[in-house]
Amino acid sequence: MKKILKANKLLFFSFIIAAFSLAIFDLETIPFGGLTYSTCKWDCMWYRDIILHGYQTDTYLSLRHIGMAAWPFFPLFPSLAAGLKYLTGLTAEGAALLLNQTLFFFMVAFAALYYKKFVDSQKYILFILLLCLSPFSLWCKVQYSECIYALITICIVYFAKEKKYIPLFLCSFLATLTRPTGIMLVGTCGGYLMVEAIRARNLNDFLNGGFSIMAGSLGLSAYMLYLYYLSGDALAFSHLERSWGREFKFPGLWLMDAITHGHRINGLISAFIDMFFLYYGFKKRMYLETSILTVTFLCAISSGLESLHRYIMGNPLFVMIFTRIFDHKSKKFTNYAVLGLFVLNIIVSAMWFNDSHYIH
């Protein structure tokens, strides 16, 4: 038994820390009205709507949601949650929470494996602690598509670096069915493989890199075709973003807008923190990981600052860059920093349960 535990130290440790992190998070919901109610905020209502009723043919006309529909919420997460709801008999938000918190274990384990193999073979325990106990994991523990998207992201970068193409194609297909930024993720990864193949003068790797983008486009096209027959507009998921106040502008213009008008300050602060860590990621030569985050950042910031922190900081690739900050720090400083982030995590979770709009 000891031998098995020693051999699988990473998996065992990631399982224990993920379980501890989820236990603290779930127990914290008690004073806020219970587990499924407290966690189901903001976009969770849209996922709940899809799980219960599927995609509707019309937009809503109620005052609170006038002109909105669930079309920008991509189908993989709600369809898996609907399947789990059918199998277990749980409520919609209960099934979605169970799905996410189960996938959380796999996401943490797989991200830790990736970090140990491709980023830093020494400090992977610190990475697991930061991934699970810091506020960055908040959105992976609630009924959002962050957890499944994080898992698919890690799978894609892992298979791309290992050059395991068949699983890479499958994950690319699933990524574009999960979030609108999935095609950016797949495109960046495919581009990285193609550039590597040109350097190595390998035609087969070049074609496989390109094919991963094609596999991703297939998922997006399938959803677009579904939307076309449902609502009459294949780009409904994009056009409807206007109902959430999102429209395309040159990235810097949204920042200028926030500075001059003094609103969305949380998005503004997040944008500058993100930019620092993107610079730091390139400095640490984490090219693939930072490129994916940069493309996601540029795509997100060109349509507004809303939820920018979630798109970037909720990604395990961001936590990998963040962990590198502690490369040359003393053990004492690192321990205090982890403790501080854990306390911050509890505060941020309480803000979420209390309907705070700063972190959705």
């Binding site: 209502m45 006309l61 909105m68 496989n208 076309y228 009459g232």
Partner: protein, 91 residues
């Protein structure tokens, strides 16, 4: 995957993508979404005035939330129901 397999599958996917792009260029709905759907629904006899969720009911009666979505505010499927006025519209 071998080159012989990649190229024909990639061509098929590209054809499918072009077909979807063609459909995306020719939507069957008006560009003004809100007007389009409000007009469509006021003309539709069996439209129920729907809400995504009701916050207070959601809070109080959490276990049985499914029926809330269909609230017959429009008084029994009437054709001319009172729709909410968008802000800024003339009173």
């Amino acid at each position: 995957m071998s080159n012989k397999l990649i190229i024909p599958i990639a061509i098929l996917i590209a054809l499918f993508d072009f077909f979807v792009l063609y459909k995306a260029m020719h939507p069957t709905v008006s560009k003004n979404y809100m007007d389009y759907f409000i007009n469509k629904n006021t003309e539709d006899t069996d439209y129920h005035y729907r809400e995504l969720y009701d916050y207070y009911e959601f809070r109080q009666a959490h276990p049985d939330m499914e029926p809330w979505r269909f609230r017959d505010i429009c008084q029994g499927k009437q054709k001319k129901c009172v729709l909410p006025q968008s802000s800024g519209s003339p009173s």
